[in-house]
Symmetry: C2
Subunit: 324 residues, 2 copies
């Protein structure tokens, strides 16, 4: 599951960005160097930097600025993951120990704060107040999304609309501004950058829905952790909400979820996972993810014809690729 193969054309850019990220978090503090390196080595799909780079091509200017945006946004993503792992009490991510489990919660929290601050420093090198404004606005929305997730833990009465608003803030916005800011940094016109924002927003929604499906349908090998971790922490995702709308499934699924909540997330979630898998919830969630991809491609179609459109289309299709 990596996009590099899809995007050989960006290999050198991405290598430069990896190096810049490593330099950005180089701390004179051994402990911080270790935790940050650990996070960088854990890697990731680097979807945000890739989107920044591809979107930057629609402006065409100032590649250094585009690189800085890519570095900053991926660092912000990393920082948010470190904090999420504290919140979610997660020991594994991408098959690697999380900072909070390899070190502890305090160190994870401050590692997140540190990387976050470093990301802001990289952005301040741009001297572009508009980029600052868009970024800080998104950071506020992201923290609201995280808070909403906590508020809605084990809330089996939440609407699909509420779920969508939450993932919009939690995930889609950062991906949307990855495209938008990449274009702005490269000097693209407002119409181009807002089309790319819309592309990124819809890709981000599809991406999070697909990720929520994967948490239910994926194998331990793919996930690096047993399936159903969202349910174990009380995160009620789209397939579960759809499953709860089915008469036959609702009763037993509510019981399983209540058991998990009572056990403080210790209970085995596999029974609940099974119920959702056997329901129509997965297919309906997949269908909605595909709808967002279609919207993304519609925005893409209105952009000037550059070879990068093909790459962006591949990414939009990639995020909903069934790997289960």
């Amino acid at each position: 599951m990596n996009l590099y193969s899809l995007l050989s054309s960006l290999k050198s850019d991405l290598k430069a960005i990896e190096e810049q990220m490593a330099r950005a978090v180089e701390a004179d503090l051994p402990l911080l160097r270790e935790t940050s390196q650990h996070l960088l080595k854990a890697g990731g799909k680097r979807i945000r930097p890739i989107l920044v780079l591809l979107s930057g091509k629609f402006g065409g200017q100032n590649p250094e600025a585009v690189h800085k945006v890519a570095v900053a946004l991926e660092l912000i993503h990393m920082a948010s993951l470190v904090h999420d792992d504290v919140i979610d009490d997660a020991d594994m991510r991408r098959g690697q120990l999380t900072v909070k489990s390899k070190w502890d919660n305090r160190i994870a929290m401050y590692t997140g704060d540190y990387i976050y601050a470093k990301a802001l420093m990289v952005i301040t090198e741009l001297d572009n107040p508009r980029i600052h404004r868009i970024l800080s606005g998104a950071l506020v929305q992201m923290s609201l999304g995280e808070m909403e997730q906590i508020r809605d833990f084990f809330n089996v009465r939440q609407t699909v609309r509420r779920y969508l608003l939450r993932i919009r803030r939690k995930t889609a916005l950062l991906i949307a501004i990855s495209c938008e800011l990449g274009a702005i940094a490269a000097g693209a016109s407002p119409s181009v950058s807002s089309l790319l924002y819309r592309f990124g927003y819809n890709v981000g929604m599809a991406f999070q829905i697909a990720d929520d499906i994967l948490d239910l349908c994926g194998t331990k090998e793919i996930l690096g952790k047993p399936p159903g971790s969202d349910l174990r922490q009380g995160n009620i995702t789209l397939p579960v909400l759809y499953a709860l709308q089915e008469e036959a499934v609702r009763g037993p699924l509510l019981e399983r979820i209540a058991e998990i909540q009572k056990s403080g997330g210790e209970a085995d979630s596999s029974a609940a996972v099974q119920l959702v898998r056997e329901s129509g919830g997965i297919a309906r969630a997949e269908a909605l993810a595909d709808k967002y991809v279609a919207k993304a491609l519609k925005a893409l179609a209105q952009l000037p014809d550059l070879p990068e459109k093909k790459n962006l289309e591949e990414i939009a299709r990639f995020v909903v690729r069934r790997s289960y």
Copy 2:
């Protein structure tokens, strides 16, 4: 213990800043509104906004910008306190329940992230890249300082120099840039803003040393928690380091500290506190704090003669005022 009496001249400015802070953290999310309001109501000395306002007088222009800087820096201070309370597992602050104890760690962490992001939004309204750069640089240093504090928990071999570097990052820098950015936002000359930076830096050092003394010598009433909380969490402060340099005190004090560490901070720290109080550590720490105040006043003396110099002098003397 509040500065308002000292600074009646700023009352209306400070009222405006309180209102702006409340508006800044107004969230459409009831939970976040509650936690943020709880923090605002808990109040504080508002030393940073006061320093921003007074420093701004040395530029004299753009009061709105000065207010924004004051709001942003106090919000950043508030956000860092919320995170610190998670790290320190603190239940009380200023005699009030902390967010982490009234709600929980996860909510406290995201409340901090939210307020932090809101502070950045306020700053982005300034369109002043230089202010962004100085601020984000300070945020990096602050997170390093927090990390160093964790690294040095229960490290009884640390040097005084190391303690000073830590509080420089943890406390003095934010106070220093409160003065510097207040001046810059008001259009002061570089020489004036750097003198104010030096004033703030030295006040900040004196302030943290005084605060560390207070944690040992203060009463439960003043502190809102029993004295010795730094020792209970393993934070080895200046008076303790000085006390450890005394032949007669070192042995027994090391034993008490080792007991506290073994007990995971559960052990009563009053015996250790007593040993430090009876040592020369308090007086030596007070002397060093006074030295920093003297340096602050020296920087102040070089500033143009404005009535606000008197207020700044009062603040410098106030932070080391013995309230025990």
